[in-house]
């Protein structure tokens, strides 16, 4: 889906946990996330506020990726 | 056949003796019905559950097969199964399940 959408002219950032799959499939902007059952959250933190902070951090990274010119597939680590 | 049900069939079979157990299945098409039938006779063909490699050889029938249909109350059958019978490929299902039964049922 990432490629089919980007092909039409809209930049896409893929937020996913198993980044090797995203790379093989061909996404251009990739953000690694927390875990498969909860990519943008972490129930292990036990605190809703902490989770929101974590989620915000990931979304900020994603927006940053969308604001970054890339010429090839890029995984945006910290 | 899902893992829970595999366990139930195995336990009941051990409790009452496999020759005393009949399994009636209600799958919506031939392939899934065949897999269920095979699971309780030749063993779980997906090798995922407790019946993997276990040849229970139980008697198994699909609810739309004549052996079952003819041994139950006609009105109750029409009421409960009549409508589904009209939309299922009853012949294909019967062929699949009876085929498995002929090959693998021991009792």
């Amino acid at each position: 889906m990432v490629k089919a959408i980007e092909k039409q002219g809209i930049p896409v950032v893929h937020m996913c946990t198993v980044t090797p799959i995203s790379l093989t499939v061909g996404a251009n902007r990739i953000i690694p996330t927390i875990a498969i059952p909860h990519p943008l959250g972490d129930p292990r933190l036990g605190d809703a506020e902490e989770e929101k902070k974590l989620r915000r951090h990931l979304v900020e990274k994603a927006l940053k990726a969308l604001e970054t010119e890339v010429s090839e597939q890029t995984v945006f680590t910290d | 056949m899902d893992l829970e049900n595999q366990k139930r069939v195995k336990d009941l079979s051990e409790k009452y003796g496999p020759e005393n157990v009949v399994v009636i299945i209600g799958g919506g098409e031939a392939e899934s019905s065949g897999l269920a039938a095979e699971t309780v006779t030749a063993g779980d063909p997906t090798y995922a559950g407790v019946l993997a490699g276990v040849e229970l050889g139980l008697k198994v029938y699909h609810a739309t097969e004549p052996e079952f249909k003819e041994s139950v109350d006609e009105d109750v059958y029409d009421d409960q199964i009549g409508m589904m019978e009209m939309v299922l490929d009853v012949d294909e299902i019967a062929e699949e399940v009876s085929g498995i039964r002929e090959e693998f049922t021991k009792y």
Partner: protein, 349 residues
Amino acid sequence: MSKLRVVHYINQFFGGIGGEEMADHKPEVKEEIIGPGLAINAGLKDDGEIVATIICGDSYFGENMDEAKETILEMVKKYEPDLFIAGPAFNAGRYGVACGAITEAVQNELGIPAITAMYEENPGVDMYRKSIYIISTKNSAAGMRDAVKKLVPLALKLAKGEEIGTPNEENYIPKGVRKNYFTDKRGSERAVDMLLKKMKGEAFETEYPMPAFDRVDPMPAIKDMSKATIAIVTSGGTVPKGNPDHVESSSASKFGRYSIEGVDDLTAENSETAHGGYDPVYANEDNDRVIPVDILREMEKEGKIGKLYNYYFSTVGNGTAVANANKFGEEIGKELIENGVDAVILTST
């Protein structure tokens, strides 16, 4: 000749540990033949026997690839096997990736003949086909017998160091390797024969299938995020509570388009996940963990982003056919363009 010693790798489901809720199961080894191992062992007959089975949770492997590989390699080494078999994984994505990764590691780092099996659309195939032998299977465990029938002969050949034939002959997924061989007809003659067949509309077989280059050029970056409209798309299966469109939990045939107008936060009351390929508990508690509606709404209010598009698009990425995923992407993309969306955040589980 003594029996070949085989170590078998399977996931938590086939290992009888549990379903998705046990996908974080750490690797363990049992000196038993378990699940599909029963079928494989029966197929090996007098040529080999499974001496140990390693069970590892699919999510654990996917989230801890390096440690998992290291731990499992140590386990395998202990048994000094002549052969390593992983799976079959069929269409299970994480399982296929794990099987591919561990098979490659055993082959390359331990020098032990290794093989796995999965459906051709499994992501593990594209990632590992070049380096290892992957038997081509059907797309579900209903094809277990068929898979084992193909897997065992090639596995034994690898273990015995015998010559391996073509993908067609041996039922493995093409590795992209070119082998030179002599044939009786000259190339020019074969080319003319093929052209004549093509012109006559007769069936012919290409000697070299063209690879499908399927990359998309990255689109330009957003210049001013505070003016941008961002849309959410997901393969994590988030849907309104009750799954009104009945998006399937696997092999999705559709995607949903759901309004988040006026919605600032996804909760257990207004949302759920339809995805059947991961433990849904955490998502169902709070689907913001799958699509960050709460954060994006806050950012919209703060002016960090121009607008959050009022609809999100959702499907289930569990065993979804590539052709379908492509179709969904096309339709979604069209609507986004028509509605002036500038960028997409796509989340996957």
